[in-house]
């Protein structure tokens, strides 16, 4: 793709986990019996009026502040008009030319240094309801009717639009992961792609390298994993380059992916020029966020994940820092290191073994974990694994596991080693014949016999002695 520069912009929707919906008092958090969490407002019964959720407004501002946005002194809700069964008012209350937050940026750490991505806007709107297509047989295929579940309708959404500042799929993926981590840490959303509480569309175009034109873009929709998105972007970049190199032009269209089947090619649709007839929502008054509220929200924001990656990467590799922070492990890592564990060792344990246990990092006693990390080389592998599996349990103590010192004493190891050698005469002969790679086999057998209690280094040494002596 030399000679071509991809241009990528993202539009992300994040569902806020406020207690109630955006414009009514219905419980937010759909999934109950269809249409059980509804009221005149979110069903758009005649005469119903929206009342904005103050908490949602504050959370949008908080996210905007985390993205270094300017918070509007006056923000306005607009109506976006279109007919669809999941949109009961036939307009979505959204924001248009006076959004709550605008003109921000997010620095994305990458192995080659940070990439700063402009945030055009972060605004507040309401989610649509959910259409369920059913057939007489009750199956999806060949659907003949559409049922609408309005429980989701009216869920607060923050829409974040980036500038077209991204130029490769990997950084786009990193941006999305970092944004997700930021939203989750701020406690604004679960931001789970599978559940749709975080969704994103990607705009892709390519241009001759060195040019600053913006060529026709295509929009990629319905990608429900970051890896899937990265692959989709790469494929689309390659396709557009092929189109241009064949002397043809890229057409503006939308590519709808099938999230349930990552291998199926996207369905392409022409982008219709929709006229949403935006106008200021006359049922709502403009929002004027008071300075003291903005400052309170700003004060609630701690050190953000992007900054922490950069900071930790000064101690560890970028890769380790990235894994720790995006895995939500860096706070625990800092505590474990502060409690005396070696930084790199602690990072390895957390990123590889601890993650596999599925334990909640927040539930871990860092001092006890630090003891374990420090003793890792001295205690049996089995004791370490057992301890790690329980490290998140309340009242966990590392001491009983540390007491299980590895067996390094020749007097204890010799009978076991002798048994193993006697049981495998063929392998012993091969080893002595020069197949020294078999040493690992014998070590493994001894470890198995001792249920992991043996000190691997001692076993190694002893085996070499015994096998060498016989030769």
């Amino acid at each position: 793709m030399s000679g071509w520069e991809p241009v990528i912009g993202l539009e992300i929707h994040v569902q806020l986990k406020t207690r109630t919906k955006m414009f009514c008092r219905c419980e937010n958090g759909f999934g109950g019996t269809p249409n059980s969490q509804t009221c005149p407002v979110c069903l758009a019964l005649p005469g119903a009026l929206p009342v904005p959720n103050r908490r949602a407004v504050e959370e949008c501002i908080k996210l905007g502040l985390a993205l270094e946005c300017r918070v509007a002194e006056r923000a306005v809700f607009h109506r976006k008009n279109y007919f669809y069964p999941d949109l009961p008012k036939a307009y979505q209350i959204s924001q248009y030319d006076e959004p709550l937050c605008s003109n921000g940026r997010l620095a994305v750490p990458t192995p080659d240094g940070p990439v700063t991505v402009g945030i055009v806007r972060a605004h507040l709107e309401e989610d649509a309801a959910k259409n369920v297509h059913v057939a007489a047989s009750g199956r999806l295929h060949g659907a003949t009717a559409t049922l609408v579940d309005f429980n989701r309708g009216g869920t607060p959404l923050v829409e974040i639009v980036t500038a077209p500042d991204l130029h490769d799929a990997d950084t786009a993926k990193r941006f999305l992961q970092l944004l997700r981590q930021t939203v989750v840490e701020l406690g604004l959303s679960d931001a789970e792609l599978e559940k749709g509480s975080m969704r994103f569309d990607v705009n892709v175009s390519v241009r001759p390298a060195g040019s600053d034109e913006l060529r026709t873009r295509t929009e990629l929709k319905n990608m429900n994993s970051f890896n899937f998105a990265a692959r989709g972007i790469e494929r689309e970049i390659a396709r557009q380059i092929r189109v241009y190199e064949a002397g043809e032009t890229v057409e503006q269209e939308t590519l709808h992916f099938d999230p349930s089947n990552e291998d199926s090619p996207p369905i392409r649709t022409k982008e219709e020029a929709q006229d949403y007839r935006y106008f200021a929502e006359p049922d709502l008054v403009p929002v004027h966020p008071p300075d003291e509220v903005v400052e309170r929200l700003r004060a609630e924001i701690g050190e953000l994940p992007g900054a922490r990656i950069a900071r930790i990467a000064e101690t560890l590799s970028f890769y380790d820092a990235d894994v720790l922070v995006t895995g939500g492990l860096d706070r625990l890592w800092s505590e474990v290191v502060a409690a005396g564990a070696e930084p790199k060792e602690a990072a390895n344990v957390l990123a590889n073994q601890f993650v596999a246990t599925g334990a909640d990092p927040a539930a871990v006693n860092a001092a006890e974990l630090a003891k374990l990390v420090r003793a890792r080389a001295e205690i049996p592998r089995a004791a370490f694994d057992d301890a790690l599996a329980k490290v998140g349990e309340p009242g966990f103590s590392a001491d009983p596991y540390l007491a299980r010192k590895a067996v390094a004493d020749a007097a204890e190891l010799d009978p076991v080693i002798d048994r193993v050698l006697a049981a495998n005469p063929g392998q012993v002969e091969q080893y002595r014949g020069g197949k020294e790679g078999l040493l690992g086999f014998f070590v493994g057998q001894v470890m198995k016999e001792t249920a992991g209690a043996a000190d691997a280094r001692a076993v190694n040494a002893r085996l070499r002695e015994k096998l060498g002596a016989g030769g």
Binding site: P40, L43, A44, L45, P46, G47, A48, L49, P50, V51, P52, R79, N81, F83, Y84, P85, P88, K89, A90, Y91, T146, V148, D275, R277, Y278, F279, P282, D283, L284, V285
Partner: protein, 468 residues
Amino acid sequence: MIDTLTLTAEGAKDLLERGEVSGAELFAAYRDAIAVRDEELHAYLHVCDDPGGDGLPIAIKDVIGTKGVPTTAGSKALEGYVPVYDATVVARCRAHGFRILGKTNTDEFAMGSSTENSAFGPTHNPWDPSRVPGGSGGGSAAAVTAGLAPWALGSDTGGSIKQPSALCGNVGLRPTYGTVSRYGVVAFASSLDQVGPVARTVRDCAYLYSVIAGRDENDSTTVDSPPIELPCDTQLAGVRIGVPRELNDAEGIEPGVRDAVRAAIDLAVELGASVEECSLPRSVEYGLACYYLIAPAEASSNLARYDGVRYGLRAEGADFREMVMRTRHDGLGDEPKRRIMLGTYALSAGYYDAYYGTAQRVRTVIRREHDELFERFDVLVSPTSPTVAFPLGARADNPLAMYLSDLLTIPSCVAGLPGLNVPCGLSEGLPVGLQLIGPQFSENALFRVGHALEQALGFDPVPARYRS
């Protein structure tokens, strides 16, 4: 024997409190009157059985949602629709023990000036059944005048309370925008819609306003308003009245209407008011045009929810798009369709700035022009309607002529200001209405001036043909 034609709400309340009649007897008296006179008038779309309660009966315009009582907004699109919740104004009436007599006729979605746009047939003027009662709230106005309710709730977007009150000869208030909740009221144009009282006297009107006014947490455009004082002063000393030239000399004002309004102004001087001519040039020249961009634009969006998915009429169609198109084709009448098309056009990309955007800027100009006058005047006066009640069908085929019925009420509505209609005499045997306009939150001043004039004028609100 209760004479519902002459009984005021205040009088009825007196009878109830003195124990001379029971609430049930009172309700039955109005039901009897409805049985006798409403076949001819068709003021009601739906009549209720006595729901009980310890207060007065009341009629509710059918754009105002009533729990358990059909609410159609005069449209086939909502035929058979029964709300599951009360509008805030209805809840406040119920909290006062008011008993709902029924739902009154209206132009479809309150779009019209004659009640002829009701999908369920027009209402007739109690003074002359061959004439219209005005609109859109012709049902509420006719019901009050014909003694079919002691008072009623109406709704006003560009004159739908004041103009029918003028044509039927009773008192109607369009309150300051934001003082009365719109929650539960079928929306026409959200930035203009206001619920208000229709009554036989200014005092009744003021009392009913005090019941419904006040901030509502379900309508974020509402504000707190000053407490209401029932007017009792019969003098107007110190009151400064402005007479906007453009509202009083407009083309199309009938001579009889002009004479009755002039007489009322002269009377105000006798009562001690100072009167001076003034001018609202841009408000009157551009008011109607501004209104007919903003109101249809908002209506085109507000009426989009009648798509057949959740309630009301649904026509069959092969897919969603066809079902929606057929539902709206069958459910909506010509006037809503006309305004939806106007409004959709005004909001369209490429036209927004020229139409809707400009109208919003003009609206600010109109508001300022009124504000400037209120530095010098307490109230402005003019005819409410350029004409007395016109014959049924006279303007039905000419939307522009119909729109001009609201020429004098629209500018102050666009400015969000309160306006009161007080009957001030007859022309050709039909009532003439005097419009009083005040600054924001000046309802008490309007009631005071209205009450003093009402006392001095001595207008008999009972239609001649009902007098025995």
